[in-house]
């Protein structure tokens, strides 16, 4: 009983505080409301959060969500294929691993904005450029977790395979790859969330082609339409949540098969 009360009271207090802070901010910001129409200009209060959302806005947001969804999905899939292929190469030898790492770390550290001119030169200002940004953002967690999983095999299990005369291919197929599944899925979970962020961010840099949520958010911001902007932002967040949840479910499913000793329980205490 005590446990249930805690579970209700905790989130309730946090939610109420959030809504309270939102109201305080909406009514506290200078010149937040138009003196003529009374419309919110920057942040509408919670009960008017979707102010200005009409049928046209709704259909625009839904279409943009689909574009962001496909961009993020395609980018994530391409990133996974390239990252896992590279991880297989890197896991073959220590020198291969150390040859690639500096470039991967540099790729991870370089801000996307610095790569924009290069991307424009290579693929142009279009959907492909946005997919490429998603690939660049989602790539690092996928490759680093896969390399870890392929290499971090218990020594005794490696010894066992050597003892029974397994060749390199057998050791990869029957030991290293199954061992890597839980590591790989942790990477997928991180990259799934990042892929949506990447698709939205890419919209800021590459405006041409189909309109994604990022571009729509910018347009609503520039035309002082905070209600539609909140709707588009919420959908971007929901999309991120959807990607994360799907990858979480996939992780749970695959771990149950390949790493059943790993628990995905969230309420450990």
């Amino acid at each position: 009983m005590k446990y249930n009360v805690k579970r209700i009271v905790g989130p309730g207090v946090v939610f109420s505080s959030f809504i309270g802070a939102w109201y305080a901010l909406a009514y506290g910001i200078d010149n937040n409301f138009s003196p003529i129409s009374g419309k919110a200009l920057v942040l509408p209060p919670p009960h008017r959060m979707f102010e200005g959302v009409n049928e046209a806005v709704r259909s625009d947001v839904i279409a943009a969500s689909w574009i962001t969804f496909t961009t993020a999905s395609l980018g994530l899939i391409i990133a996974a294929i390239v990252a896992w292929s590279l991880a297989l190469v890197m896991a073959q030898a220590k020198w291969l691993e150390s040859s690639f790492w500096p470039f991967l770390v540099a790729l991870q550290a370089v801000p996307i904005v610095a790569l924009v001119p290069l991307i424009i030169q290579i693929v142009g200002v279009n959907n492909k450029a946005r997919v490429l940004v998603v690939v660049l953002i989602a790539f690092f967690p996928l490759v680093s977790t896969a390399v870890d999983g392929l290499k971090r095999v218990p020594t005794a299990q490696e010894d066992l395979f050597r003892l029974y005369g397994a060749d390199k291919v057998e050791t990869f197929l029957k030991l290293r790859i199954p061992n890597a599944v839980s590591f790989v899925m942790s990477g997928v979970r991180v990259s799934a969330g990042l892929s949506v962020v990447g698709a939205v961010v890419a919209d800021f840099f590459f405006a041409r082609g189909d309109l994604g949520l990022g571009r729509l958010i910018t347009e609503y911001f520039q035309s002082t339409q905070p209600g539609p902007m909140i709707l588009a932002s919420l959908l971007a967040a929901l999309l991120g949540g959807l990607f994360f949840s799907l990858s979480y479910l996939a992780q749970a499913k695959l771990n149950a098969r390949w790493s059943p000793q790993i628990s995905l329980r969230r309420n450990d205490r």
Binding site: A156, L160, F161, L163, Y164, P178, R257, S259, P260
Partner: protein, 240 residues
């Protein structure tokens, strides 16, 4: 005929020398136990015997087929007990079906006939160690190597597995090299026990008259085993 021969083996890690011109042999059908203080090179000796490590000088001769039981069961978590036991046969080129048939028999022989479909996390510590033992025996090894396999088990489970192992060895006659911290286990199971000094050279040897055909687990508490264990303790004290 010797199942294992160490001829003037020298080995070390970096600057630290573990063995210097070590000679050792294990007769066919013999169970040899190695005891000694931590860090004296017991596990290294097993790795040299299994060719997982190569000696710096000297040679190690053994049969082609080896069974190895590690300190922890080292079962692959994604494989069932049956598939874990079948693994060495699969790796040696047997078909999956053939390997699974032999694995089923090996699990039955060790008392896990009902647990073939269970994954390692669904097995108790003792059952995991039995599975590991079945995996080592399924290849019908020329030499069985056991690296402190009972150290992490509770007393009851340890005794049951010791007794079963003694019976299995009596039936199969598999020459066995066992490394153990437990002087009692060594005295109960082995025909011969070598005491390794802290510097890794064998210092003493104790022959035990173990009749494995009639080796009930109650014997572990017998005066005979206790006396052997006490002798081993004295030898270890002297050598350290």
């Amino acid at each position: 005929m010797a199942a294992l021969t160490f001829d003037q083996v020298t080995f070390g890690y970096g600057q630290r020398n573990i063995f210097h011109n070590l000679d050792l042999h294990l007769d066919d059908h013999e169970v040899l136990a190695i005891v000694g203080v931590s860090g004296c090179g017991k596990s290294t000796l097993l790795k040299l015997a299994s060719q997982l490590l190569k000696p710096h000088s000297g040679s190690v001769a053994t049969g082609a087929k080896l069974g190895y039981v590690f300190q922890s069961p080292e079962l692959l978590p994604w494989r069932s007990a049956l598939d874990n036991v079948a693994l060495p046969l699969e790796l040696s080129g047997q078909s999956r079906n053939q390997a699974r048939q032999s694995a089923t028999m090996a699990l039955q022989a060790i008392g896990l006939g009902d647990c073939t479909a269970l994954k390692p996390h669904e097995l108790s510590g003792g059952m995991q160690m039995r599975t590991s033992l079945a995996r080592a025996l399924v290849v019908e090894p020329d030499l069985l190597l056991l690296d402190e396999p009972f150290a992490a088990l509770d007393e009851l489970t340890r005794r049951k597995i010791l007794s079963d192992l003694s019976n299995l060895l009596a039936r199969s006659g598999t020459p066995t090299l066992i490394v153990s911290h437990s002087l009692t286990d060594a005295a109960y199971l082995a025909d011969r026990i070598l005491v390794l000094s802290a510097s890794g050279s064998t210092v003493d040897e104790l022959r035990v008259l173990t009749n494995r055909e009639n080796n009930p687990i109650e014997r572990i508490d017998s005066i005979e085993v206790s006396t052997s264990a006490a002798k081993l303790f004295k030898m270890m004290t002297k050598s350290s």
